[in-house]
Symmetry: C2
Subunit: 301 residues, 2 copies
């Protein structure tokens, strides 16, 4: 592995290789040393989370958003979080192909990351990657995650604006959506808006929104046909309106604090779980009940 | 609230009201006092976990399994874990109606429980409810949970035999299944087996099974039409074969230990998270990076 000093030289020089190696270093568990040097530079980027069920066209949407950002001369980072199931790899690799048009653009940095663990959560390294891209100076960072496991909830903790993409006529009506996914949307995106059932989905989302208690920001609803680029300007405007809202209301401070707290919590929980699992494995006594066992283990902590 | 002594008198007398109140007490956070008295009586019941996507007919399957168990003169407990999304309530209440035919049977005890928290996980109280039903002397305990959030992974930790129900032609092909759900199945159930695409789903499951590395137990695949009771005898036989395998191989010891460890872990983690959140909220200093912050907080723990 490159020494930390050499890595930082490359990073500081704005070389993508420096960023790539920094993210790899964070993935391998050594994010602490990097963050000590680079954390102070974070806080500039516009961070967008994009989630939704498989097949909704997230990668196509991502690609269209990258194109839009590039037309505004903004540099872009993309983090694709893959679920760990052996079953989705084919589909996901296929999806990734939609991003290839940006592969040769030096102002677009694309990174796939595996979701850690079988629960499909966004790995701690994803948060690190967002911070590293931010510190590197990328203007826009898009975190794209398939709506499996708890990753779509965690994405809302990391990103400033969360986009929930849905597709019409998918059989997945909103009723079958996972608990919590409706609540995290800052912007709903109905992709494949040329589908005959697109307006029905729009109505469904509107009526679901009436049930939910939203705060000062009521989610916007954008209709897109990402493959053809239709509706992307309007979606981008919605993202900018949400960002303006965050700054004008001061909500951005709470969002940043929440993202920080989330990362601190994940890092600390990771260490605690590790110690806890070791303590439980070493605990041979099954004659007592689980409550008594947990008390005993915590007392020894 | 009934005093613990009176509650235990009712419980010991085999009155369903005693069991109902014990579960309520566990839900309200006071499982420890009950478990101290009752844990030693657990370990007899056959515990079955049933999960799958919404609309697959889990409640109908549950109802059919209850009927089968009753025909064998076994007493049955059913725990339905509800996701907490406001969107699924209608559908779930509709499902529950399918269990009404068993409402008047004194040997069938049915309980709905809310999944705790917005991540849709199986609540800690679900584990308590399983143990309480077991201690109460119910022969068969079925835990039914909709395949949202991480609940279907957790169910495999609690139940001896995990049934994953799938439906043909749902648009949800196996590819879109959540990471981890294929891995937890002891028995796959293709419900609505009269559907024209049932055999295709069966083939899909078989070919997915070839990718996965199974241990000594290779999941069985049962075809059912639960509404008409078709295939339920065969499904029950598969459950009995899995149970026989667990005992003959000694795997049951590992399963019990895993369920115990899972509960201990959840109880201890709950307390640790609570302390951790308080520590993070009280930590005003955002000038350091998340790694340094988590180290500092853990050091103060």
């Amino acid at each position: 592995m490159l020494s930390l000093e050499n890595l930082l030289v490359e990073f500081d020089a704005g070389r993508p290789r420096g960023l790539a190696r920094a993210i790899t270093r964070a993935e391998s568990g050594d994010g602490a040393s990097l963050m000590r040097s680079l954390y102070a530079r974070t806080g500039r980027a516009l961070t967008i989370g994009l989630t939704g069920p498989p097949g909704v066209g997230k990668s196509t949407l991502t690609s269209a958003l990258v194109k839009k950002a590039r037309s505004l001369d903004k540099s872009v980072g993309v983090i694709s979080v893959d679920p760990s199931s052996p079953f989705s790899h084919g589909a996901l690799l296929g999806d990734r192909i939609r991003l290839t048009e940006h592969f040769v653009d030096p102002k677009v940095f694309i990174r796939s990351m595996a979701a850690r663990g079988h629960l499909g959560g966004v790995s701690g390294a994803t948060g690190d990657a967002v911070l590293l891209m931010d510190a590197f100076g990328l203007d826009v960072i898009i975190v794209e995650t398939v709506g499996v496991g708890q990753s779509e909830i965690e994405i809302a903790e990391l990103a400033q604006s969360t986009l929930v993409a849905l597709q019409p006529g998918s059989g997945d009506s909103i009723q079958v959506l996972k608990a919590g996914i409706m609540e995290i949307a800052d912007i709903f995106v109905v992709n494949k808006a040329d589908h005959p059932m697109a307006n029905q989905l729009k109505r469904e989302i509107r009526s679901m929104m009436e049930i939910l208690q939203y705060g000062a920001w009521v989610p916007e609803l954008a209709m897109t046909q990402a493959l053809e680029g239709t509706g992307i300007d309007e979606l981008w405007s919605a993202i900018e309106r949400h960002r303006a809202y965050l700054f004008e209301s001061g909500e951005i401070v709470r969002k940043r604090r929440a993202a920080f707290d989330h990362q601190v919590r994940q890092l600390a929980l990771g260490k605690l779980q590790h110690r806890l699992d070791a303590a439980i494995a070493a605990h041979p006594d099954l004659s007592i009940d689980p409550y008594a066992a947990s008390e005993r283990i915590l007392a020894e902590f």
